[in-house]
């Protein structure tokens, strides 16, 4: 049911390059997120681990 609903919602999305295991040496399925600290657009530093505790979708993107 959820799958069917989501399939509809995702159908409008564009297709990106094919993912492989070589995506990044720091990102691997089954491994923890890298312990990075990154700034917000306002300049405040936030660790990626701040988002632990809930299911999270991290979308790595650019506005162009």
């Amino acid at each position: 049911m959820i799958t069917a609903a989501l399939l509809g919602a995702f159908s409008a999305l564009t297709i990106g390059p094919i993912a492989g295991r070589e995506i990044s040496p720091l990102l691997e399925v089954g491994k923890p997120l890298p312990d990075l600290v990154l700034p917000t657009p306002e300049g405040r530093l936030e660790p990626l681990h701040r988002f632990k505790g809930r299911k999270t979708i991290l979308h790595v993107f650019a506005s162009w």
């Binding site: 989501l6 390059p17 993912a19 070589e22 040496p25 399925v29 700034p39 979308h59």
Partner: protein
């Protein structure tokens, strides 16, 4: 990305998942404007240095409650099924943080650091003196450094690049930091040119790194652009203002190549007349303006096209400002014999409002090198006619700033082959 937002909005609202954006752009604040335009209120983090080491975007990571990556997706075609499976998975059993030997500081460093501390300690890179240690030190320093202190960051990345000439990450990040300093009040002469040079080296080492490739395309000629990078900015602001909101502030306004549409063929201007000061009669600016010029790419192949960037900045001690009421800045370019340019005469209107201003003025044009050009340097004779006002006397002046742009021509393919023989 707006597709992801729409597809997961209900799940976000009911608290089933949280969405987080990580921006792989030189100017992360522009993504803040983009998010506001699209009505997306996710938290976003800016990864200008590409610390995540992703080769392209978009990439989506499904991360469970314990912070473990459960899936990596770059094709939305499979996203729905993977998201459903991710949502259905039970939370993992909590695990204590592991103690690991950090490969980045292994040489000469006997104390292991916990994975969750790795980026919170200040490593003394001289102890390890490895490229990895200097890279890590530079990464951390880059996050903490004020714009006036970026020289230390640059020195650390340069050390990493010296110790490992194949370290494309150090080269890419050197480019990012040089461009960041170029955009600040603490710029050093040649910062933008060095940024381009480091990105070009990084791309030679890692040609499949599309994040690096996009940085060059962002400032490069229209023939090489996959799309206009920031043509959406004006429409976004208009839409946000129409909603009675204040647009997210952007520190560096996109301009020139960042807004230009891609082209499939070079279009040369046929303009030959209209030079505004052919006899050179207008008095010169006498040291009030600092000029920086560069080409992207930094080396032009015979038959190739480059985007020429010229930046005019009022020197701090100039004691003058731009006089915007008197008229626009006029620009003229004389290309070398045989070269074509996309324009010869144009005017520059300030992006900032107001009768006076002192912002850097960025001028760009494109030039096509004739096929068969011998390797070497060629010069473009250019000049700007500017309106200035002296701060103390209030005198308003009309002045000419001569600019010489040097372009380097080299047949890289042939030269590389001959060097390898």
């Amino acid at each position: 990305m707006p597709g992801w937002h729409a597809a997961t909005k209900e799940l976000q609202d009911e608290g089933t998942i949280q969405m987080v954006g990580i921006v792989e752009e030189q100017h992360g604040d522009r993504a803040g404007l983009f998010m506001q335009w699209k009505g997306m209120d996710w938290p976003i983090l800016v990864d200008s240095l590409n610390l995540l080491e992703v080769p392209y975007v978009p990439i989506t990571l499904f991360v469970d409650e314990a912070g473990t990556v459960r899936n990596l997706v770059s094709s939305p075609r499979k996203s729905a099924e993977q998201l459903a499976s991710f949502l259905a998975a039970a939370p993992p059993v909590p695990v204590e943080p592991s103690v690991v030997d950090d490969p980045n500081v292994s040489e000469g460093d006997s104390e292991p650091i916990r994975r969750d501390q790795r980026h919170r300690v200040r490593i003394e890179p001289a102890r390890a003196n490895s490229a990895a240690a200097w890279l890590q030190f530079a990464d951390w320093t880059a996050l903490m450094a004020a714009p006036g202190n970026l020289g230390k960051v640059i020195a650390a990345y340069e050390r990493a690049a010296e110790l490992d000439v194949q370290c494309h990450q150090a080269r890419f990040r050197l480019g990012v930091i040089h461009r960041l300093r170029f955009d600040s009040d603490h710029l050093e002469p040649g910062d933008f040119q060095r940024a381009v040079g480091h990105w070009e080296t990084a791309l030679e080492i890692a040609p499949n790194q599309y994040i690096t490739r996009r940085r060059l395309e962002q400032y490069g000629p229209r023939l090489a652009k996959p799309y206009p990078f920031y043509d959406w900015v004006a429409a976004a602001r208009e839409s946000i203002i129409a909603r009675c909101e204040t647009p997210f502030p952007v520190a560096i306004e996109p301009s020139g190549a960042e807004l230009a549409e891609p082209l499939e063929a070079f279009v040369a201007t046929v303009e030959t007349e209209g030079e505004p000061d052919p006899g050179g009669a207008v008095a010169r600016t006498t040291g009030r303006i600092a000029v920086e010029t560069l080409t992207v790419p930094s080396i032009i192949e015979p038959g190739g096209v480059a985007r020429v960037h010229i930046v005019l900045r009022l020197r701090r001690h100039a004691g003058a400002h731009w006089n915007n009421e008197a008229g626009d800045l006029l620009y003229w370019v004389d290309p070398p014999k045989g070269w074509a340019v996309d324009r010869r005469l144009w005017s520059y209107s300030p992006l900032t409002g107001g009768a006076i201003s002192s912002e850097p003025r960025r001028l760009e044009f494109e030039a096509k090198c004739p096929a068969g050009t011998a390797p070497g340097e060629v010069s473009f004779r250019c000049y700007a006619l500017v309106h200035l006002c002296e701060d103390q006397s209030g005198a308003c002046l009309y002045r000419r700033q001569d600019v010489s742009v040097t372009a380097i021509v080299e047949n890289r393919t042939t030269d590389k082959k001959s060097k390898n023989q």
